[in-house]
């Protein structure tokens, strides 16, 4: 059987090496999308993101990748946003300055409230409460590293969360063909691979 391709949006920041190696190890080929014409239509898209929201958005826009993501997903192509990639799905972020997101899922991005125990960035391994029966909520561990979190307008779009001090942090979201995860599946050991496989095989 010929391997399927996964589009990975490659806009110049962050660690796409690890996510692409994870995807390849699950039996898929990666197609790196650096400019709009690189995109393979009707093939799943992964939108990674490391860095600050304004910087990520600026680069997406500069490379005209924001429009093609919106157009392609409007046709029903499945998309997974990872970390900042998930935050980019929202309407706005308030990181550093108010910046418009892709507006694919209704909501905003705001700073996590810290306290003495629950510091910001939220860094480390957390157990996620999933709606999804594929994961045992007492045994899973996912790796997080982020200072901002999404606030969803519609709670129905939340498929998993963690409690962190005073915060309830949505850790995975879904609206129709649009998926997102705040944790890094490519850095979350076996559980992360299972999550990623779930999306790729869908």
């Amino acid at each position: 059987m010929k391997k399927k391709y996964i589009n990975i949006i490659d806009y110049g920041v962050g660690n796409i090496f690890s996510i692409s190696k994870s995807i390849e190890s699950l039996g898929y080929n990666c197609n790196f999308v650096k400019k709009p014409s690189d995109l393979l239509k009707n093939q799943k898209i992964v939108l990674p993101g490391v860095g600050s929201f304004p910087e990520c958005k600026k680069l997406l826009k500069k490379k005209k990748l924001d429009k093609i993501i919106i157009d392609e997903t409007n046709k029903g192509t499945l998309l997974l946003g990872v970390c900042i990639g998930m935050q980019l799905l929202m309407d706005f972020s308030f990181e550093l300055k108010k910046t418009k997101g892709l507006g694919l899922i209704k909501g905003t991005v705001e700073k996590i409230k810290s306290d003495k125990i629950n510091k910001v960035p939220n860094t480390g391994w957390r157990q996620v409460n999933f709606n999804n029966k594929n994961f045992d909520n007492k045994k899973n561990y996912f790796y997080f590293v982020h200072s901002y979190k999404v606030r969803l307008k519609d709670k129905k779009n939340q498929t998993g969360f963690i409690k962190y001090g005073k915060n309830v942090i949505p850790t995975s979201i879904k609206k129709n063909n649009i998926y997102g995860c705040q944790f890094h599946p490519e850095k979350s050991g076996i559980d992360g691979m299972k999550f990623l496989k779930g999306f790729l095989d869908e």
Binding site: V13, G14, N15, I16, F17, S18, K21, S22, V50, G51, S52, E55, I84, L96, S114, K116, I117, N118, K119, V120, P121, T123, G124, W125, R126, Q127, Y141, Y143, V145, H146, S147, K163, G165, H184, E186, K187, S188, G189, I190, G192, M193
Partner: protein, 256 residues
């Protein structure tokens, strides 16, 4: 739900070319073995994170990037921090592109703290680790910041320095006690206690860990967010499994 403190176990690997090396108080380097074997072994045994540091600044030679960093990151699905001689934003980008998640900065930040600000704006605070070598100053009973593998005193007081790097946007502190490094006599508890009072971002303690009880002692008495262990793991004095199991009944969030 009661809020438990999160605690991470990190393995620190000092690397030269493709070899794992180890020193005592940063003196007298010794080759331990092939670094990739150790990195993969720690990953397979459930370590939470890896910290690669190149104390002799061979970081940017092809051997390090190709035969070590890329090769291990291809197989390792946990976070990797890389430090040692990173001077420019472009070098940091290259490291991240090769599979690392966080950049540890020491000397370059002492020379110009703005690099922390620039890096955190570009790659995000969460990916910028301020790596600090601290040595006790017995005259004024505080700690000075050192660079160059604990050889060169910058004359900067650690408390002032932490305030600076926090303000510039560092997302984590990895603090090595130069006095305890490689001695396996336990952590410098006093140092981390002082720091815990002023710090707002996660702190990882490093230097001096020889036994599991050293880790338990620091976790119970000082508010640090994790430990980085080197020789005790390299020489098999601590097994990751045993270490994690010893935390089973303690009030921490641990990844098992």
């Amino acid at each position: 739900m009661k809020s438990l403190r999160n605690f991470r176990f990190i393995s620190r690997l000092d690397i030269k070319d493709e070899y794992l090396i180890k020193s005592i108080n940063f003196e007298g380097l010794k080759k331990v073995g092939l670094a990739k074997d150790y990195a993969l072994d720690y990953y397979n045994n459930n370590i939470d994170e890896l910290f690669y540091i190149d104390g002799v600044s061979t970081l940017f030679n092809k051997k390090f990037i190709k035969s070590f960093l890329r090769m291990t990151c291809e197989k390792i699905r946990i976070p990797v921090t890389v430090g040692g001689g990173i001077k420019t934003i472009n070098q940091a980008k290259k490291i991240l592109k090769s599979g690392a998640d966080k950049i540890a900065i020491n000397t370059a930040a002492v020379k110009n703290p703005e690099i922390i600000k620039k890096l955190s704006e570009l790659i995000g605070s969460q990916s910028v680790v301020s790596y600090i070598e601290a040595k006790k100053n017995n005259v004024n009973q505080t700690w000075d910041v050192y660079v160059n593998n604990g050889k060169e005193n910058t004359g900067i007081n650690i408390m002032n320095w932490i305030e600076v790097v926090q303000k510039k946007g560092a997302g984590e502190l990895l603090i090595t006690s130069v006095d305890n490094e490689g001695t396996e006599k336990g952590f410098d508890y006093e140092l981390y206690e002082k720091i815990a009072n002023i710090v707002e971002i996660p702190v990882i303690a490093n230097g001096g860990c020889g036994k599991i009880c050293d880790v338990i002692k620091i976790s119970e008495n000082v508010k640090v967010d994790g430990v980085a262990i080197s020789s005790a793991l390299h020489y098999n004095k601590i097994k990751i499994d045993d270490l994690k199991n010893s935390f089973k009944k303690k009030p921490f969030n641990i990844r098992y």
